[in-house]
Symmetry: C2
Subunit: 305 residues, 2 copies
């Protein structure tokens, strides 16, 4: 793969930003990779790992002359960052992001995008429960989906270029409407995370009674929830605050369905329970068939290879 | 390890029964391993794998002369099985089980246990989402906990023998009250499974609208729930029907906590969200410290080694 951008600026060098840098290097996609964090400790850590050609605590300095700028910080920071970098964005550059919500990103960033800059929101659906500049690895995006949600008036050539870029990082790419993205992600990612956080919290409150037993016997299912509930707290707070409508819609449905199960347990209605459990098992098989996980435990979770 | 029982009868040769057989062979614990399933197809499949010395579709024939009998079928079958085998249980034998609920097992099996037979309910906390005679492997119990819940009047020597047996299978063993077991497992295993089944069902209903997208983008968190929600439907139906009280208690708390989170999202209360997410991350670290999972993805899920 040959160089696609002379300079790429990554605003944010945590799990996603650092993994993008590693994957860009693997494929030789960028002439120069610039990284930014507002924390000097993070910049120092990123320097130690060595995936960036230059590092900054000043976002405007980082994006200067960049042909591709990607916001990789928690989405709650996007509005202020966009305002800060807007005056120095290079004409013809692509401005993108890696946020897990898309409607709010268009709302927050869109108004600051200068004429001549191509604004194309993106969401690579990949991750682990690790975070920070040391957590990244080149294979994170391999075989995973990346969704682009360009506003209607976006230049198709710029969209095609960003699509090719993500494919070169290892992803499959899909283009869809931001509103649809936010609903699909609410069910496949946001609400599952909220539920995992919630059950771990419920267990922790109960734990005061049961003295360490929750930890000790976690292999019965609970530990899989703790894995999900160990994801970055700031990132996830921002996701829920910025995909409120879709998350509340899906949560409402989840609550109704759970009440029905609760009722089935109370009244000893084994048939309702069995029918659901048999149906969900079939969905698992569909995911394995779609290549998004495998039947053997522990593969396909974005692990280092 | 030397032979502990001249004959062990496993009533049920699915994931747990077949794994017990493999682990007994690894340690040389049994002179003869007899297996039972009410389905001839399962017996034939078990014969192909070859972990049992004899196989039966008649439970009474299987337990004849056995020094240790373990019920490894779904707990909903225990009452009928206990009634069937009671007349032929060998005096001095230990009768145990591997069910995920313990109060209901004492209620269902206890009345049939003949004088002179030691009834010691047990629950190995280990499993995968696979099931059937081909799913078992010798390492399933290594480093996992097994909880014994002997009724108060049980012979301490028999309890010590069963404890040594499970330790020889690779487990850590804990003795506790059946009621406490059922509450601890409701939070660490039963309610997490119910929630996973429920969210996968909710997503499946929504799926009719979103055309395969739920499957496609499952790497964002959802697929971890489908893994849990792929567990054996009959086994789990029986667990919920037989641990009703504790499951409903924990579900009630879970629902209250989820309502509070839902409210925080609706009103944009980021602090409440952040505080919970930071707290649950710490619990994850405790589980890793306790050796019940590791920080690297995909280890410790009971995989074949």
């Amino acid at each position: 793969m040959s160089e696609m951008f002379a300079k790429v600026a990554l605003l944010g060098v945590g799990l996603i930003g650092s993994s993008m840098a590693h994957a860009m290097r693997r494929a030789g996609l960028a002439g120069h990779i610039a990284g930014y964090s507002h924390r000097i400790e993070t910049v120092d850590l990123a320097r130690t790992v060595g995936f960036a050609d230059s590092l900054y605590t000043d976002a405007a300095a980082c994006v200067k002359d960049a042909d591709l700028v990607v916001l990789c910080t928690p989405v709650g920071t996007f509005k202020a960052l966009a305002e800060e970098i807007a005056p120095v964005l290079k004409p013809g550059a692509i401005l993108s992001d890696a946020g897990s919500v898309k409607g709010a990103v268009i709302r927050d960033v869109g108004p600051f995008v200068p004429e001549g800059v191509h604004f194309i929101p993106a969401h690579p659906i990949a991750g682990t429960e690790q975070s920070g500049p040391t957590a990244g690895f080149a294979e994170l995006f391999d075989g995973r989906w990346c969704i682009l949600t360009p506003p209607e008036e976006t230049d198709p050539q710029a969209v095609a270029k960003l699509k090719a870029f993500w494919e070169a990082l290892g992803s499959n790419v899909e283009v869809m409407d931001a509103h649809r993205h936010d609903l699909v992600l609410a069910i496949t990612s946001h609400v599952p995370h909220l539920i995992a956080y919630n059950i771990v919290g419920t267990a922790d409150d109960l734990e005061n009674v049961t003295e360490g037993e929750v930890i000790k016997y976690s292999a019965g299912g609970f530990r899989d929830f703790t894995r999900i509930a160990a994801s970055d707290p700031t990132m996830w707070r921002d996701i829920f605050l910025n995909n409120k409508e879709a998350v509340l819609e899906v949560l409402g449905r989840f609550g109704e369905d759970l009440s029905a199960l609760q009722r089935a347990i109370r009244w000893g209605d084994g048939e309702t329970l069995y029918n659901l459990f048999a149906r969900t098992r079939a969905i698992r098989r569909s995911i394995i068939d779609a290549g998004q996980d495998t039947a053997s435990p522990n593969f396909g979770r974005g692990e280092k290879k």
